[in-house]
Symmetry: C2
Subunit: 403 residues, 2 copies
């Protein structure tokens, strides 16, 4: 497997485009994206567990559940189409508009919306822009689509890989958006993944559901599980590989993990206001589940996140977050180190503070990517979670996002 | 029942004092407090549920559990005596030092420490200061004790009430500290309450445990459950009321609620960096438990807290937090209003946004005390939670607290 360029249009048969249609006032910010497969694709999706679900989440889930197939994904930014009386009608309308201009069935279109909650979605700009958007579809349009789905993101997020199934070269690529309201549970903000591998939709769903447990569900920016989270995978089979062997499935899972793992880190490091990517690696837990709970608790602690912003080796906050996480932990066996490319500093052994150089700790924590390494010394369970620091800019962005 | 002055020394037979002993470098900040009852008092306590528990929490719990009696409470700020190899020894030593200078039994002393986690507690300053501190004990020393237990608190927190049991006038008062790492579960940071009512310790424990469910456990500043939370009540019987009737218990519970309710709001409004007190009132839930879960989720949302800082009526974040709270909620029946002394503005009805004046909303949300009023229209369950906004100062305080 190797990393290649091309994002969601790296796989054969996928085209994409992004444009400014007018949902956002800022004309230089694209706000409408389209991804289209040349032929019918197997599809799988995972969605937010928030009881308040955006209308597009409900419509997309129904479209994929019907027959496990998709041809297109349409997505707007600037408005979440959530908590609106006419939300379902407008989400279905977005699919019909795509169908009208591309000839695919409305039920083969997935729809997503991200932005402010509770304001009516203006459908006219989407209707008026669709003919032009379809005309712009190209096999190197991934970047425009990735730009169009961004909200408070500061960098576009895309990745693609090449791998082999049954002697056939396959490609898989993805784009993502997500910066605030990021604490996914069953999925993350918006992630669209395409592959030209031939994969039955049941297999695709199985692989995706297994993957998100260790990837998107282990990311937290601010503890808020969005109403609009979704991850969609489309597999159109144009690589012409045969039925999947067990080894093929392993290869496919590895390709998926490469794509999702990369996008996870991109989302965490571009968290609203973030200056640092935090990676919490927990090992030695009684079970993997305990490790996941502890890692996610640490990455979600506002106090620790603020300490990391200040490059302050306040490891007591790590112990505190492990202690209230709900994980089964022997608190008298906890080891903690901080690591970065500037080095490593051990700060706690068997639940007790140890002497360390504040100067070295400051150097380690002044890097852009920091690992919080926790040894629980109780079993074989392990997990990794990703997050970011809590900064003045998070407050600035969210104190005045809507107006 | 009426509000009176005097804090923990309002009740007969209680003296208190606070001094600077040298745990903190800043000489103008008191860091050691003592509360002493003239006679043996019934005692009850509730403590943090964090698996990582400060040594003082463990020692105090053992002392109260032994016989339900206390004579004194000693508390230092500046060091949490938590995650230290010699923590238990030093916490017991603090009790012995008090015993030596006052003549009470070490097992009748409760001990508490608050401050940085994981640094060895210097015991010498406490030893050296104790004789002088005991000499300073007075029946109007509550204020000095309240000042001595503060860490990042910006205001001291004390309250007292007068009430009647069986024809006898009784008094109850409390002091508290708590500003960061506030998301209590079974207790809050440090709260010490005294009363001269005669109350068996079993009754005192029952009343306290019932009370914290709706008071301290409904406060959140930052979602971090401290390792050092405790609430201690001492009742020394000097009011000479007789055995408690059912009506007396109701009166006593009301006095306790008046003290704890006031201190809750004091803690929430003095949250680290806070500029606003938030009160989330949920009604119409299927059960009280659902109401509590929903209210606490809203008060804990970083996104909503930042929006309140910015006086932005971003009610979608209220719906979002209700939706991911885990409470059983019919999301299509949720009503939301914001209220303050500047007025009231309804923003969401039956799960859908409604037209409202942004100008009025801005006025309502620019006040210092804001209520987020949520109607779930499904049952009779209700609850109230208290929190504060998320500000630049929270990040500043916690980015550089330890160094």
């Amino acid at each position: 497997m190797k990393i290649i360029s091309g994002g969601v249009t790296a796989a054969r048969g996928f085209k994409a485009a992004g444009t400014h249609c007018g949902i956002r006032k800022n004309h230089s910010k694209k706000d409408l994206a389209l991804i289209l497969s040349a032929c019918e694709a197997s599809a799988a999706g995972v969605y937010t567990t928030n009881l308040v679900k955006g209308a597009p989440v409900q419509v997309t889930r129904a479209h994929i559940a019907a027959d496990g197939k998709l041809r297109a994904i349409v997505c707007n930014s600037g408005n979440a189409n959530t908590c609106c009386a006419d939300g379902i009608i407008k989400a279905e309308r977005m699919c019909s508009i795509v169908a009208h201009r591309t000839g695919v069935a409305p039920s083969d279109v997935a729809v997503a919306s991200t932005g402010v909650i509770g304001q009516p979605l203006p459908i006219e700009p989407i209707e008026e822009a669709m003919e032009g958007l379809v005309g712009q579809l190209t096999s190197d349009g991934s970047s425009d689509a990735a730009l169009a789905i961004m909200t408070t993101d500061t960098v576009k997020k895309e990745i693609a890989v090449e791998f082999t199934l049954g002697g056939k070269t396959c490609r898989m690529g993805g784009i993502a958006k997500g910066s605030g309201m990021i604490h996914p549970n069953m999925a993350t903000m918006l992630v669209f993944i395409t592959t030209d591998a031939a994969v039955p939709s049941e297999t695709l769903q199985k692989l995706l559901s297994a993957d998100v447990k260790d990837t998107f569900n282990m990311v937290s920016v601010d503890g808020d599980t969005s109403t609009s989270d979704m991850v969609i995978v489309m597999a159109n089979g144009m690589a012409e590989n045969g039925p999947l062997s067990a080894q093929d499935e392993t290869e496919l899972a590895a390709a998926l993990r490469a794509v999702t793992g990369y996008l996870c880190k991109m989302i965490a490091s571009d968290g609203e206001g973030a200056t640092k990517l935090l990676e919490c690696r927990v090992s030695g837990a009684f079970t993997d589940a305990d490790a996941r709970i502890a890692a996610k608790s640490v990455i979600g602690s506002s106090l620790l996140k603020a300490a990391m912003f200040g490059a302050d080796a306040n490891w007591g906050r790590v112990l505190c977050a492990v202690g209230y996480s709900g994980a089964n932990v022997d608190v008298d066996k906890v080891d903690v180190s901080f690591e970065s490319k500037a080095g490593s500093v051990e700060v706690c052994r068997m639940g007790r503070g140890i002497e360390f150089s504040e100067e070295i700790a400051k150097q380690v924590l002044s890097e852009k990517e920091i690992a919080i390494v926790i040894g629980l010394n109780s079993g074989e369970g392990c997990a990794t979670a990703w997050g970011c620091d809590l900064t003045y800019d998070y407050v600035r962005i969210n104190g005045d996002y809507r107006t």
